[in-house]
């Protein structure tokens, strides 16, 4: 035990000696959370739209004013003909063109029907769907006003909505937990895999192997300091998301911290596993960063909900550890649920952690070559 403690102390000294890495280690997550909390959002505001008004009457004026005064859109150009549409969309500044047909106002009154067409830039599907939905909603609203003035009580059934857990519909609620999950797994896996391969690459692993320390002790000793550092990191990030983004932990803080510990442990053991299969730091960094970044962003439900993915991807996503932590952290932080609601996810993370550790121990070579 004393031997082991001595080893842990040595590892701490290693880390603290390199002040620069330490600053980066704590600074990066903080800066990233701050940056993304403000930046990463899917709220539509001030999207530039152009109008092609073939009618140019009072009614079309009224509708385009209504669209532009919503705060979501900004009028940028008024086009004169259909040929202009391709020209402006191609330049990429304008995201949509709204076309009013000829004799719009007259048709609406005499025939009771008039058509608006929304042309969006489909090369950016997110934007295109958002804009189409918002404009359609504004026009539906306008229709309702129109109907209200013409014949009262035509719309018999009116639904009322309550948005639960996120009444002001902010995208922070979605992205802050996701960014925490993403950054923690990448940092933890990178740190452990690199610290172990570093010893291999420099040949100092040999020194450790001939020491009376058992392989398990070597690995535990390597991981212990990073476990503590990462835990402090999580606490800092949670404080920030509370102070800066007003995202309080609604549920039990103790439970959330315990779950975070489990998640850190899982990420660290993933790092150990990576270090057992890579010979150099380059390889370890390649696997734990290039290999893991995009799958973590895309398949964990961080930005894109898993339910919307094509068939079969549910299974792929089930193999992604971050998926479970995102569910856990959203449940505890935002909904305020207790352990009973996340025990399944917790169990999966525990099983994954055990599997990673077991595999690493089996693959860990005591001999060089």
């Amino acid at each position: 035990m004393k031997r082991f403690l001595g080893f842990v102390k040595k590892e701490f000294l290693h880390i603290f000696r390199d002040i620069r890495t330490l600053i980066i280690l704590f600074g990066i997550p903080v800066i990233q959370i701050l940056l993304f909390g403000f930046v990463v959002s899917t709220d539509l505001k001030n999207a530039q739209v152009a109008f092609l008004d073939l009618s140019g009457d009072e009614m079309t004026q009224k509708i385009s004013d209504k669209i532009c005064s919503s705060g979501f859109f900004m009028r940028s150009e008024t086009l004169l003909s259909y040929n202009d549409i391709d020209k402006v969309l191609r330049k990429n500044k304008i995201k949509a063109v709204i076309v009013f047909e000829k004799n719009f106002g007259r048709k609406l009154i005499s025939e009771g029907k008039a058509a608006i067409s929304i042309i969006t830039d489909g090369s950016e599907p997110n934007m295109a769907t958002l804009i189409t939905n918002y404009v359609t909603a504004i026009i539906t609203d306008f229709n309702r006003e129109l109907a209200g003035t013409q014949a009262a009580g035509t719309f018999l059934v009116q639904p009322e909505v309550r948005m639960f857990y996120n009444p002001s519909l902010k995208s922070h609620f979605m992205f802050v937990p996701g960014v925490i999950t993403l950054i923690m797994i990448l940092i933890c896996a990178l740190m452990t895999s690199v610290t172990i391969t570093r010893e291999k690459e420099f040949g100092t692993m040999e020194v450790l192997l001939v020491s009376p320390l058992k392989p398990v002790q070597i690995i535990l000793g390597k991981v212990m300091p990073y476990f503590l550092l990462s835990f402090i990191n999580v606490i800092m990030i949670l404080m920030l998301s509370w102070l800066v983004f007003g995202l309080p932990v609604k549920g039990s803080l103790v439970l959330l911290l315990a779950e975070s510990m489990l998640y850190i442990l899982m990420s660290l053991s993933l790092g150990i596993l990576i270090s057992t299969v890579s010979k150099t730091m380059q390889q370890a960094i390649f696997i734990s960063f290039v290999g893991m970044m995009l799958p973590t962003i895309l398949l964990s439900g961080f930005i894109f909900p898993i339910e919307n993915m094509p068939d079969g991807y549910g299974w792929v996503a089930a193999l992604m550890p971050p998926k479970y932590f995102i569910i856990i952290i959203k449940n505890i932080m935002i909904k305020g649920t207790g352990f009973l609601y996340v025990w399944k996810e917790t169990l999966v993370l525990t099983v994954m952690t055990t599997a990673f550790i077991w595999l690493s121990i089996r693959k860990f070579k005591i001999r060089l070559q």
Binding site: R20, T21, I24, I28, L35, F38, V40, S41, L44, K45, N46, A47, I85, L89, G112, A115, I116, S117, I119, T120, G122, S123, E124, N126, M127, T132, N133, L146, Q150, G153, T154, F155, V157, Q158, P159, E160, V161, R162, M163, F164, Y165, N166, S171, M174, L186, V194, I285, I287, G291, M293, L294, I297, L299, F304, P305, N308, M309, P310, K330, Y341
Partner: protein, 372 residues
């Protein structure tokens, strides 16, 4: 010139001597593109609905049937207790709860307005809004049906109504793969180029082999160019592989000029590699460089506009994005591939990207010290 050529050859030998890296440089992009490009869609399907039907009349059942008939909603639960419904929402078993109060059928039958209550899980704000909009659409159809029944269809037609049609240009069916492929490809070459080029230089520093170069008459810019060119070539090969995959497996349209796309990607890669080499002159160990790379790559990727629209970012972040090479390449790739934009359409982006590339690279040459 010959010096650079020999140095480049040395770098290539060094890169491919590591069998793992040599394979991963091409293997990882192929696997990730095949796996990730089809995964992402923005369309919402299977919204899980819980119904509290307190009314139990033909009218309320008609509404539920209409909801069930749409491909968008799946009625998963129906219950009489609001508490149970809220609990299901809480546990994430359903996304929307629709409450039909008693007396709904009677009122609407008489032509009086009937109320419905909807509760939505709004943690994912976009999803909640879209499902709500769809639900509204179904209810509107339902409205039109009862109005038609109550008053006869003639009088309904006299209510003026604006009809909205919409079209998605350049991507009629809003195929998400067309959008994701150029983006994922850009991110992959960004990460691979940045990490490998930077680590390569720091590794020489850490193991001391850089001294052997420093004592030779090799010029500073020779050295930086030789570190850059191999990864530039590897990156461009990765792009070619990616485009072939896109054409063969996902049938991605290619409207613009291939040469223009490669020109944009090459400038992008030079900018990325220049920054990587600049950062590696600041780092003493591979660990330090790794964290720096982590910082820049994650920021470049999440602010590139591929996952969330650039326009949704605050103005200061859009200004910051002016030095983000990834934001430019996403735009250029998409515009050239899907819209067939010509050089003139993207000249501003190309110009800015070139400035960034020159700035980073000359800084890297300037910062690199041959003397210890």
């Amino acid at each position: 010139m010959r010096t650079i050529f020999y140095l480049i050859r040395k770098e290539f030998l060094q890169i491919f001597r590591d069998k793992f890296i040599g394979r991963a440089i091409f293997g990882v992009p192929i696997v990730q593109m095949l796996l990730l490009v089809p995964a992402v869609t923005f369309e919402i399907k299977n919204v899980k609905l819980c119904i509290i039907d307190r009314d139990m009349t033909a009218e309320s059942r008609g509404l539920v049937n209409q909801l069930e008939g749409s491909t968008f909603f799946k009625v998963r639960f129906s219950t009489f207790s609001e508490q149970e419904a809220n609990n299901l929402l809480y546990r994430g078993k359903c996304d929307l709860v629709l409450q039909i109060p008693s007396g709904f059928g009677k009122e609407t039958g008489k032509g009086n307005p009937g109320k419905l209550l909807v509760s939505a899980n709004a943690i994912n704000a976009v999803n909640a809004q879209l499902s709500w909009a769809y639900l509204n659409g179904v209810i509107r159809d339902y409205n039109i049906n009862i109005i038609a029944e109550n008053t006869g269809s003639l009088s309904f037609a006299s209510i003026p109504q604006i009809q909205v049609t919409n079209r998605y240009w350049y991507n009629e069916l809003l195929n998400y793969k067309y959008y994701m492929l150029p983006g994922v490809l850009g991110i992959l070459i960004l990460a691979i180029g940045f990490i490998l080029a930077g680590l390569n230089l720091v590794k020489e520093k850490e193991s001391g082999t850089i001294e052997q170069i420093n004592v030779t008459p090799v010029k500073k810019y020779h050295f930086i160019i030789a570190k850059m060119v191999p990864f530039l070539i590897i990156g461009l090969i990765d792009i070619a592989i990616g485009l072939i995959i896109g054409k063969l497996t996902f049938n991605i349209p290619f409207e613009g000029s291939i040469a223009l796309l490669f020109l944009g990607s090459a400038i992008f890669l030079i900018a990325v590699l220049g920054l990587a080499l600049l950062m590696s002159t600041f780092s003493g160990t591979q660990q330090q460089f790794m964290f720096t790379a982590f910082f820049f790559i994650i920021i470049f990727v999440l602010m590139s506009g591929i996952f969330t629209p650039l326009e949704s970012m605050p103005v200061w972040a859009q200004k910051l994005d002016l030095i983000n090479p990834a934001a430019y390449v996403m735009r250029i790739n998409r515009m050239v591939m899907l819209k067939g934009s010509t050089f003139r359409d993207i000249s501003r982006d190309i110009f800015s990207l070139t400035l960034i590339a020159i700035a980073f690279t000359s800084l890297a040459v300037n910062r690199y010290r041959k003397t210890a």
